[in-house]
Amino acid sequence: MRYKGNILEVTGLNLSISNGSGVPARILKDLSFNIRSGEILGLIGNSGSGKTITSLTIAGLLSEVATVDSGEILLDGEDLLKKTPQERRRLLGEKIGIIFQDPSSALDPLQTVGSNLNEVLSIRSDVVNKEERRERILNMLKTVGFDDPDEIYGRYPHRLSGGQRQRVLIAGAALMNPALLIADEPTSSLDTVTAMSIMQLLHEMCQEMGISILFISHNLDAVHDFCDRVVVMKEGTVIDSDTSWDIMGQPKSSYTAELLTNSRLDTRTLGIKPGFASEDAETVLTVSGLSASYGKGRILRKRTPPIISGIDMEIKEGECVGLIGSSGCGKTTLVKTLLGLIPASSGTVSSSRKLAAVFQDPVSSLNPAHSIRWHLKEALRCSGKPLRKEEELPAFKKVLNDVGLDEIHLSRFPHQLSGGQRQKVSIAMCLIAEPSVIIADEPFSALDSSSQASIIKTLSDINHERGTAMLIVTHNLRVVRAMCSKLIVMDSGRIVESGLTETILNDPKTEATRALIEADLYGV
């Protein structure tokens, strides 16, 4: 570690965003914090608290509608806000590296990894000459954990996994050995095992290369394990800041305490309990010997190895079953096959009533052109149980009430709702069809911890009050512990373990389960 004072000092930063008309909205209010040389600083807070805006302001990547009203940002003692746009651009990649949330499309798909990274060096031909470039990129690829950098150099991004892409992006951000690396939720779209390895990589880079890291996250456990200090933001201002140990142990403000409760899914405070089936409950979903594969080829249908095979499971009324497994183990394929979105190549799925699903991305799951009322009507129409006109409104009110929304939301459009509210609309659309099982495929992962807690509470309440069975696909073991009585663990397309949640988590029998639990302990 190199400790030579502060690498970054943000003092009295005020920023506002104008939305065309009226008074500009103040987004950052008198924000002050600093990052010491060689440390990892965690920046936490709910969605909309201004974390990302802060990072973009430091990087100088703000859009034109945002204006800095006052304050200073000192990087290595130089005020960034006094520099010209050209000078600030020059700093990007050289002194400040940034990695973002979702690595899936963050590399140009038309160019190889090598040429994606080469642009960092080619625009600095005065610093790095042409011959050195390839050598330097290969070394960096090795540093970020690729065993065969030569091979990765020539690969196209679509042939990399999400974790590998994030590694490439980290390599790009670190190529010029910057003083500060801004990591804006770098692991939130990755599965736990991959996320943990990315976190470890960042930690190593901080230790070995002396890069200071601003780590933005809403995952408090990750922050706790990897950050030296933590700054808590709420509504554009710092309300708590301390070493991560103290923040997590004794939060000074009630807001931080609430963040912790939500993030840790404190089941007692939130009132969530696992959903068990009663003794005489009937089976609502039976799956036996289910296999599925993605067929390729147009005329001659080539046989591809099955994505999932030999899946047997049973869900009873009122039961809440968790489904876990690392990325690519076939969880989503199983969900799609259950729903009939992918034809099963063998095996059967039988259910007493319809199945309904809530998916991961609340933004693209709803049609932006229509109101919530339209969405509910559509769901009702598809359920095959049309109601008379006068029955519709009470039914809509009831389901909205059940998911914690209001009648006023009926006339709203998706863009007027928050991520959590949209996800609740998706749940309401499920409920109106009165399904036997609600299948939720990672319904929380795109949300911040407060919205997550609220969605989990909603699902759990529906599970208990309506007795609707649930299949929850997730990589968050906290969620599983909080609401699932039974657990299914998948690995490489097969079920490797299933049984009571407690039993499996306390005494894992397979390597796959152990790896998932270990990754979860690191809290990423």
Binding site: F100, D108, E119
Partner: protein, 320 residues
């Protein structure tokens, strides 16, 4: 490299199959036209004997499948029979007219690409601002003018007002290539203008989309200027997504050239086609239609290949 070869081979098979289907449908279309082709050609005054003679000469008495096979085998040698109206081999007639239509289409395509890419790039930089709105409005107006009306307006403008281009003159490419090209430019421009609007609109939208993409943001965080991001990432990516549109535009352009040739009095395929229709010259007609259909298929084949050449995902999608 293996992937590329595999991809190209797959596409080539697809292309050949499509071409075969096109040839069959073209042939079939002319065979199921109601009425006796021989009778229609000879008119009402012909005797039964003359009609029967022509039927035998044209092979109309044989079954459809057999006629198709013999037509196809000679077509593959470039022999589409003899034109009834011109008493010349169909293939010679077509090949003498092809340079005009093809040349005009290619010039039009170049104009479309050269104009719409920079304009789209300019507009996508600041969508919704004055330049963007003005150019988009101009595009809408151009899009609304049919090529033949535009042709006449341009003819008047250039000959009467400027007096620059000699309209209605034509030189064969073998005689004077420069003059051949110069007499194609104005008609090509007339066909291109409405298509520029279409291509421009599509490119603008896709460039705006790619400007907001994650990889553009990554490049920005690497310290690249907006212009470098445009050249390095946004234009290549929009080019891939616009290839389909451009190939549609090109087949539209070829269709448009058939009309514009009339206005500019150029000896292209369009005029030949009209002559064939009005004189009921079936061998010539089927030859031209087959040629045009085949060119469209070739066009799609080429656009697929170009897309695959630029975009590695397309190659992999087919072969993995």
């Amino acid at each position: 490299m293996g992937n590329r070869v595999k991809f190209a081979a797959g596409k080539l098979c697809e292309f050949l199959l499509t071409a075969l289907l096109v040839s069959f449908f073209t042939f079939a279309a002319f065979s199921i036209i109601p009425g006796d082709a021989a009778r229609v050609m000879l008119g009402t005054t012909a005797t039964e004997e003359q009609v029967e003679h022509l039927r035998t000469e044209l092979g109309l008495n044989e079954p459809l499948a057999q006629r198709y096979v013999s037509w196809l085998t000679s077509a593959m040698r470039g022999d589409f029979g003899k034109s009834l109206a011109f008493s010349e081999p169909v293939s010679e007639l077509i090949s003498s007219r092809l340079p005009v239509t093809l040349g005009m289409s290619l010039i039009a395509l170049i104009i479309v690409i050269v104009v719409s890419f920079p304009f789209a790039a300019v507009c996508s930089r600041r969508p919704g601002k004055f330049t963007d709105r003005a150019l988009s409005a101009a595009g809408h107006i151009l899009f609304a003018i049919p090529p033949f009306a535009l042709s006449m307006m341009l003819i008047i403008l250039f000959t009467r007002v400027f007096g620059i281009v000699a309209v209605g003159q034509y030189a064969r490419p073998s005689d004077d290539f420069g003059k051949f090209l110069s007499c194609l430019i104005l008609p090509a421009f007339c066909i291109a203008l409405p298509k520029i609007a279409m291509t421009f609109k599509f490119l603008r939208a896709s460039m705006i989309e790619y400007s907001a993409s994650d990889f553009a943001r990554t490049s920005k965080s690497h310290g690249l200027t907006d212009f470098m991001i445009l050249i390095k990432h946004i234009i290549p990516n929009s080019a891939v997504s616009s290839i389909t549109v451009i190939s549609l535009v090109l087949s539209d352009i070829m269709g448009g050239s058939l009309i514009v040739e009339q206005v500019f009095n150029l000896p292209g395929l369009g005029r030949l086609l009209l002559a064939a229709i009005s004189r009921r010259d079936f061998p010539l007609l089927s030859g031209i239609v087959f040629y045009l259909a085949l060119m469209t298929v070739v066009l799609y084949f080429m656009s697929d290949m170009i897309a695959a050449l630029i975009d590695p995902r397309i190659r992999d999608r087919r072969t993995s």
